[in-house]
Amino acid sequence: MGKLWVISIASIFILLPFLGNAFSPESPTDRRVLVLLDDSAIKSSHSIYFNSLKSRGFDLEFKLADDPKIALQRYGQYLYDALVLFCPSVERFGGSIDLAAILDFVDSGRDLIIAADSSASDLIREVGIECGVDFDEDPSAMVIDHIGYAVSETEGDHTLIASDDLIKSDVILGSKRIEAPILFRGIGHSLNPANNLVLKVLSASPSAYSANPKSKLSTPPSLTGSAISLVSIVQARNNARILITGSLSMFSNKFFRSGVQKAGEKTKHEKSGNEQFLTEISKWVFHERGHLKTVNVKHHKVGETDEPALYRINDELEYSVEIYEWSGKSWDPYVANDVQVQFYMMSPYVLKTMSHNKKGLYSTSFKVPDVYGVFQFKVEYQKLGYTSLSLSKQIPVRPYRHNEYERFIPAAYPYYGAAFSMMAGFFVFSFVHLYSK
């Protein structure tokens, strides 16, 4: 069809088009991190965690949460790629930061770590709610577990929990198994099961509940059992990642270093799982892992290389896309056997799993269905822990042209014969009729 009114323009939505991407597509890992603290002592008391971040190349900037000079953006440009809120008790941020500013920060594709505490302020709770996490409404409640608590010198009130109920995902938690339980002291939160963006990474044991440890239980606790989430992650639709936990102390040097023995278990671990767990999950949050990108979406007829403006029904076509995963330093080929492409018009007419060459190139070939219309090549790839891939590319499919049908159909030869014999017969008849006088 040559030059055409039919144009197909690739509309690739790797990320939902909000204000822009936090990171350059070339290296998605965050670099500049703003850490807001309640009190500058946290800087030293949580130094192991901060140092692990620094050693991975992050540029941390520590500010007090009520510092009047703090700002997330200047002249419309964001100053940071990620925000760490280690300020559970802040009622109002200083400077230009407020709830809306933080949410806009996330909606622009940037990352966030929130650590609340039993003293969590309404503001922090509100940030949590906006991200899909509901902290226990009772301000004095803490997570208590009389069975899964961590054994310590003093009997205590069982608010120091040793939990090992982790999500099973190598992408989020790294491939190395976390052996030791994780120490947690703080408030619990719940998630809306209908919310498919938020994930429970560390949940409480079935015996846990959320209540005020100092007072007697008068009413049944509102949050109980494994519905309590201790650490949750959110991956927003624009792939911004958020880590939310109800315990600031789990990041502390003290918890990192202390040994742990879960009540009722004999093994005593020399070191708690906190360091490994929080380091690994911060790699995920800061896009050092589980970040996919697609390049070179191509489709063409079998045997050709140029991309046509439209296909004809029953054409054979090939579709290919390259998918890479960010390893923190470089883009490595992504290898999986479950990437599917749809040939879609209101519903998928073709749904095929693509084969790959272990170098990131996924491809498949199929026959265009016998239906014309405006189709889309769609790749909707959502896998736990990975950024979601959503590619769609519009392509019209036209019916046969008038001269693309078969010229002579064998089944119709009797009719051709009939027509021509009729013509001959009529000619002979006319001749005889006219000249036979």
Binding site: M1, I9, L103, E126, I129, C131, G373, V374, P396
Partner: protein, 785 residues
């Protein structure tokens, strides 16, 4: 046929006496025709002068777009055009679903002009196609009426048709629609049929098939021809007027015409498969049977013939019954009995409103009101009965055709206001006959009674002058000018065969029926006055009623002329501010305009071929915001366009069309129920309106921020204050509203980036949420917010 020998013998002498006179008559009628053509063209230019040279309304925009495509890409690309910018995501095969006649005509004109180095734009050609063809149509009317009742009637009918308001309404400059050329094709096909019937010439029969082919190319109304002509043939057979001329007029038309019609992609096998065409085949068979019977009758003795008849009839009846039974079984097995919805609603006027809301929803498919007859044909309504009587005195093959034509078209025009257009030429022809005959009578009686004039010869002369002018015209037409001297007497005598019969009879009667001088003069004056009224009305209708392009509106008030150019403003905004592949949803009325003027993909358009798709859009418009968002999102819609007339009082806006959206949507998706939108059977948008109505998308998109205009939200179309004034949109955002608020464009909000936690918390903390300004308001009900 049975012409009296005496009159034929008289012709040559008259001819030699009146050569000069006849030549003068011929030249005069030629110039009259020329002027009629000029008038037909120029009366349709009001729209260009008063507004501008633009394409009007809705369908013409599609035709214009198709013509542009044709001009740019050529006929083969046009034939195979798969349009992916309408009916997203289904697309539409334009080449196979469009009547190509108009497009090809305009495309050819454009190509011709360009190859003559006259660089007109496609748009200009499109704008002026309709006026040009109305001139052709009035000439065709002249030819047709002349075949029926002579030159005088022909000229009168042509003049009437040139300015009949009904036809003007569809053929003003810019009204680039199928009917523009189809009416010409219709009349011309009828003319060629009558011509063939009168002459028995196979040449005209072939031309007739070709004209029929052009008609089939141009308009779906061709089924009118292929049913009317068989009816007339049947009428002729029944009334014992079977002749070889009738056979020649009909048989080639059916064979060639059907073959040619099947060549048009949009008709294709419909030409032999649908019930609309059955009548023609049935009559074709009957015609052959009758012809065969006549033939047998000719070669057998009367006694033998009787025996043969009884034999054939008994065997024939049995066979017929069997065939009919099979046929009925076949037809009954199809759900619509083989008829298309539009045709069925023609036969049963209540059919559409009962079963097909999408046909009933179109205003031009409604039955007309009485005033519309007086508006559209004016004084012709009074002249038509007189014309019918004139056709009966005497009844010839051709005049019976006119009677049949007017009878059927009156019925059809009563069913569908759009078919007024088919009725108008019939009314013009009969009125032309009536006027010309009465002028004839009155002038003759004046001449008869005026002293000093030998009435006898004058009357004869008047009679023959028309006949010879006719003959001359024919000669010019067939371009046998060198043969005219030889040809003319014979041709004239052929004419005389039918012309002389009335005239000789009339001559005899005229002497008895000569009216008194004064009464004929007064009647003449009154007739002229009637004609003057008609002219005044037509010019008024052309200038005021039918010239508005509907894309630009004007209104006059005490402080001058207001121009509402909101549609082009909105389409211009879409063209310049949205991505080229964005999809725009609107009610189907605006589909053609959006694709043509904004060049954006639409979901549904005026070619209502897919009821389900339209119902989907109707359902979205009738649903609450969230459900509507989901429907539109599933169709990849980016923008929603609504037309709102409440601010300026533009009555044909979407709120007034809304009940049709509900009906059409509810026809496919039963959860949309019309009573939910009506309070006690009344459609209202004020505070008494139902909650479903006040929460549906159409209401919200129409009245969003409307209260800000006057503080009360007073709708000037519905003449009431709106029911729900202050509300916010959760899933849509307003992106553009035109100057007079006539078109409002909304954008679908993208799905929310994050999903909020429990809602009860935010309620307890309304103070903190409301401080977040734009983010807050709607977040409570909405999972995306």
């Amino acid at each position: 046929m049975a012409a009296p020998e005496t009159s034929t013998a008289a012709v040559p002498t008259l001819y030699t006496n009146n050569t000069l006179r006849n030549a003068f008559g011929g030249v005069l009628s030629f110039f009259i025709l020329l002027l009629i053509g000029v008038m037909a063209f120029s009366i349709r230019l009001f729209s260009v002068i008063k507004y501008e040279s633009v394409i009007h309304e809705f369908d013409p925009y599609f035709n214009y777009r198709v013509t542009q495509f044709l001009a740019k890409n050529g006929i083969y690309e046009f034939w195979n055009w798969f349009d992916d910018r309408t009916w997203y995501p289904l697309g539409r095969v334009i080449g196979g679903t469009v009547y190509p006649g108009l497009t090809l005509t305009a495309g050819t004109i454009w190509w011709l002009l360009n190859s003559l180095n006259i660089p007109l734009s496609v748009e200009t050609v499109c704008v002026f196609t309709a006026p040009i063809f109305s001139a052709f149509a009035s000439w065709a009317t002249f030819l047709l009426t002349k075949e029926v009742k002579g030159t005088g009637a022909g000229l009168t009918a042509a003049a009437l048709l040139a300015m009949v308001p009904s036809y003007i309404s569809r053929s003003v400059a810019g009204s680039y629609d199928n009917e523009a050329v189809a009416i010409f094709a219709l009349i011309f096909t009828f003319y060629l049929y009558i011509k063939t019937l009168n002459t028995g010439s196979l040449f005209y029969a072939t031309l007739n098939s070709i004209a029929y082919f052009y008609m089939v190319c141009s308009w779906g109304g061709y089924t009118f021809i292929i049913n009317l002509i068989p009816m007339h043939v049947l009428l002729c057979i029944v009334t014992g007027r079977f002749s070889s001329r009738l056979y020649i007029a009909y048989a080639p038309l059916v064979v060639l015409g059907t073959l040619l019609a099947a060549l048009v992609p949009v008709v294709g096998f419909n030409a032999v498969m649908t019930s609309e065409h059955f009548a023609s085949f049935l009559v074709f068979i009957i015609l052959h049977v009758v012809a065969f019977v006549y033939y047998i009758k000719g070669i057998l003795s009367p006694k033998m013939f009787k025996v043969a008849v009884t034999l054939v009839v008994s065997v024939g009846l049995a066979v017929c019954c069997a065939v009919i039974a099979v046929l009925i079984a076949l037809v009954a097995s199809s759900p619509t009995k083989g008829w298309s919805g539009r045709s069925l609603s023609l036969l049963d006027p209540t059919y559409a409103s009962k079963y097909i809301p999408i046909i009933a929803s179109v205003s031009e498919h409604q039955p007309p009101t009485w005033p519309s007859y007086f508006m559209d044909i004016n004084v012709l309504a009074f002249l038509v009965p007189a014309g019918i009587i004139a056709c009966f005195s005497p009844l010839s093959d051709s005049s019976s055709f006119v009677v049949l034509y007017i009878a059927t078209s009156v019925y059809f025009s009563g069913v569908m206001v759009r078919l007024m257009l088919v009725f108008a030429p019939a009314a013009c022809i009969t009125s032309g006959i009536a006027l010309s005959q009465s002028f004839d009578v009155f002038t003759r009686s004046i001449k008869f009674q005026l002293p000093g004039i030998s009435s006898n010869t004058e009357v004869d002369a008047a009679e023959t002058s028309s006949a010879t002018a006719e003959a001359q015209n024919d000669a010019v037409k067939t371009e046998k000018s060198e043969e005219t001297s030889k040809n003319r007497p014979s041709k004239k005598s052929k004419k005389k065969e039918k012309e002389e019969k009335p005239s000789t009879k009339a001559k005899a009667e005229k002497r008895l029926l000569a009216l008194p001088l004064d009464s004929s003069v007064i009647s003449l004056l009154l007739l002229i006055l009637l004609g003057a009224f008609y002219v005044v009305h037509c010019v008024w209708a052309a200038a005021e009623a039918y010239s508005a392009p509907s894309i630009v509106l004007t209104s006059r008030s005490h402080d001058g002329l207001h121009v509402f150019d909101d549609f082009r403003e909105a389409y211009g905004w879409l063209r310049h501010n949205t991505d080229v592949d964005d999809k725009v949803a609107s009610w189907w009325d605006y589909g053609y305009q959006t694709t043509a003027m904004a060049n954006r993909t639409v979901i549904v358009d005026n070619n209502t071929w897919n009821n389900t798709h339209i119902a989907t859009v109707g359902t979205a418009m009738s649903s609450p915001e969230k459900a509507a968002w989901e429907i539109f999102h599933s169709l990849d819609v980016k923008y929603v366009l609504v037309v709102f007339g409440g601010l300026v009082g533009y009555p044909s806006d979407d709120i007034n069309k809304f009940l049709w959206m509900v009906r059409i949507g509810g026809g496919v998706f039963p959860h949309i129920k019309e009573p939910d939108y009506l309070r006690d059977g009344q459609y209202r948008i004020d505070s008494q309106a139902t909650p479903t109505m006040l929460n549906c998308l159409m209401y919200k998109l129409s009245y969003y921020r409307f209260v800000e205009t006057d503080g009360k939200g007073f709708d000037r179309v519905r003449q009431t204050e709106i029911g729900k004034k202050h509300f916010k949109l959760t899933h849509f955002e307003e992106v553009f509203t035109t100057h007079h608020w006539m078109v409002r464009i909304y954008k679908l909000k993208p799905p929310k980036n994050r999903i909020r936690g429990k809602t009860k918390k935010s309620k307890s903390k309304t103070s903190s949420t409301s401080s977040r300004g734009k983010r807050s308001g709607s977040g409570k009900k909405n999972p995306w917010q």
